[in-house]
């Protein structure tokens, strides 16, 4: 044995005890103090476990209802969404199923309708809270990036759709539902002041903006919100990719006549 100290993974989230016959297999797994296979498996809903994983505590009924609603609203952005199209592009070509998920994550990670937009929108919530004046100020004079980053600067106010015309019905329905079940002050404030904010932004509210408000009410940090948003939108990418894999590339748009190479 080496005299060097054994390197370990430090975690506040997960504790294991080994099986008597195998130190590489866990007999008990505790997540944030709860016995995962002896308690949570029987008693917790998936959504509540998801909340526990991120927040390290059991949600209140309102928090649970809010996350449940958000998860349903985001689970399938539909086959026109960029991230789902990425997954379907993997599907029609017969790519690996993992690549479809990777494609959906990569495309759904961005500043336009993606997880990075939610990250920035959370930063806006942290900065502005429920101050209409602060929102007006930050939307009209957005923070500038200091030094170059791999992420590009936002090209529109985060949480709003630069290609939108008016706030789509599903976005309004989701906002109203989440504000109702979650009892969160920021969602309710957003519901009340949506049109004023849309006037500041020049664009209608988007799903990313509703998600950001919901996750701010759930006291998620921007980086936690970014991760969860990536996660919650994957089911739609998966099933649409599988559907297009079965149908094949001949039944999927190739934009044969839409591509125009400049002379």
């Amino acid at each position: 044995m080496s005299d060097n100290p054994i390197e370990k993974i430090t975690t506040k989230i997960w504790r294991e005890t080994p099986e008597p016959d195998n130190p590489f297999a866990a007999a008990n797994c505790h997540c944030c103090g709860y016995d995962v296979y002896g308690d949570l498996l029987q008693n917790a809903s998936y959504i509540d476990y998801l909340y526990l994983l991120f927040k390290q505590q059991q949600p209140t009924p309102e928090q649970s209802a809010l996350l449940q609603g958000l998860a349903i609203a985001l689970a399938n952005p539909g086959p026109r969404d960029h991230s789902v199209r990425a997954a379907m592009s993997a599907g029609v070509g017969g790519s690996t199923h993992a690549s479809a998920m990777i494609a959906a994550i990569a495309v759904g990670a961005g500043n336009l309708g993606g997880a990075r937009e939610v990250f920035h929108a959370l930063e806006y919530w942290q900065h502005c809270g429920a101050s209409l004046e602060a929102w007006e100020q930050i939307i009209k004079d957005p923070p500038q990036l200091g030094r170059e980053d791999v992420w590009l600067p936002m090209e529109h106010a985060p949480g709003f759709d630069p290609n939108g015309v008016s706030c789509p019905t599903p976005v309004k329905q989701t906002l109203a539902h989440l504000a109702d079940v979650g009892k969160g002050s920021h969602l309710q404030w957003l519901d009340t002041h949506r049109t004023a904010l849309e006037e500041f932004a020049g664009y209608p509210l988007a799903f990313s903006g509703v998600a950001a408000a919901a996750l701010h009410d759930l006291e998620f940090l921007p980086e936690q919100a970014e991760m969860l948003f990536l996660l919650l939108r994957l089911p739609g990418a998966a099933i649409h990719s599988l559907e297009q894999e079965r149908l094949g590339w001949r039944k999927y748009p190739f934009f044969a006549n839409g591509f125009k190479l400049n002379p």
Binding site: A106, R147, E148, G258, F259
Partner: protein, 268 residues
């Protein structure tokens, strides 16, 4: 109701000068016929032209030297390579391994962020020097604002063994004497004598060499995207060649649990 989405203009209408394929069998890249004009290029020359529009065997050769000397150590402990080794040990595919490793390479303490950030810093520092600031003022301002200077300092060790061989290679092809690489080493001189003791790392060296060839931060970033794959792939293959699951297995006692010991019960 009238249709007035600005997306309507773009429906089935992607206009581009970048290039494309036609069913007649012609392939164009940035206005050039791939088969007739670019078919004899090296892959690195082709990538350089595709990513930047520059046609320069010298820059391509310099970049190729960087890829060999600086970016693809086949060590599975390095975090991006470790992802490929883990993919190998779990018997995933090589492409998934490489894709994940490339994605992970967009890191803060190594890889793409320092590459882009160091190039950006050299350009900003040069501009501020021209405006009359001293190097000390520029570096102190950078440290005060960001608590680090991309291209200087390194995890695990202080020095960077790649600097000398990379500079040797650069000089061998007529590079290494421009103002940006000199600036990179002038910053290193200041920082190594400061209380921070940061030494130059390879990101600043490559940034300086490529800035002297006219590459902007975004161009270097695009060119460096795939640079680390030759380190990841052998790690994947090596793990495939070992028993499945054998890459640095962890027993349960390797978790250092720092949370509370109280066992809680879920409220139903």
């Amino acid at each position: 109701m009238p249709v007035h989405s600005k997306l309507e203009t773009f429906e089935d209408n992607w206009r581009t000068s970048m290039g494309g394929w036609s069913p007649e069998g012609k392939v164009v890249l940035r206005g050039k016929d791939v088969f007739k004009d670019l078919g004899n290029n090296s892959w690195m020359e082709y990538l350089l032209f595709a990513s930047t529009g520059k046609e320069s065997p010298k820059i391509a050769r310099l970049m190729e030297g960087m890829w060999v000397i600086c970016t693809s150590f086949p060590d599975p402990r390095i975090w991006n390579n470790r992802v490929s080794a883990l993919a190998g040990t779990t018997r995933s595919t090589g492409v998934l391994a490489a894709a994940a490793s490339v994605a992970v390479t967009e890191a803060t303490i190594y890889g793409l962020k320092p590459i882009k950030g160091a190039t950006d810093f050299l350009y900003r520092a040069d501009k501020r020097l021209a405006e009359g600031e001293t190097l000390e003022q520029i570096i102190k301002a950078e440290l005060k604002q960001y608590r680090s200077v991309y291209g200087y300092g390194r995890p695990l060790v202080t020095g960077d063994e790649r600097v000398e061989p990379m500079m040797d290679f650069a000089r061998s092809i007529g590079c290494g004497e421009g103002k940006y690489i000199k600036l990179a080493f002038a910053i290193a001189e200041y920082l190594s004598n400061s209380r921070f003791k940061y030494q130059i790392n390879i990101a600043a060296v490559c940034a300086g060499l490529l800035a002297d060839e006219g590459l902007k931060p975004m161009e270097f970033y695009h060119m460096a995207t795939l640079a680390f794959t030759a380190g990841a792939m052998p790690c994947f293959i090596d793990a495939l060649d070992h028993q499945e699951g054998s890459f640095f297995p962890l027993r349960t006692s390797r978790l250092n649990f720092t949370g509370g010991e109280t066992v809680k019960h879920w409220r139903v």
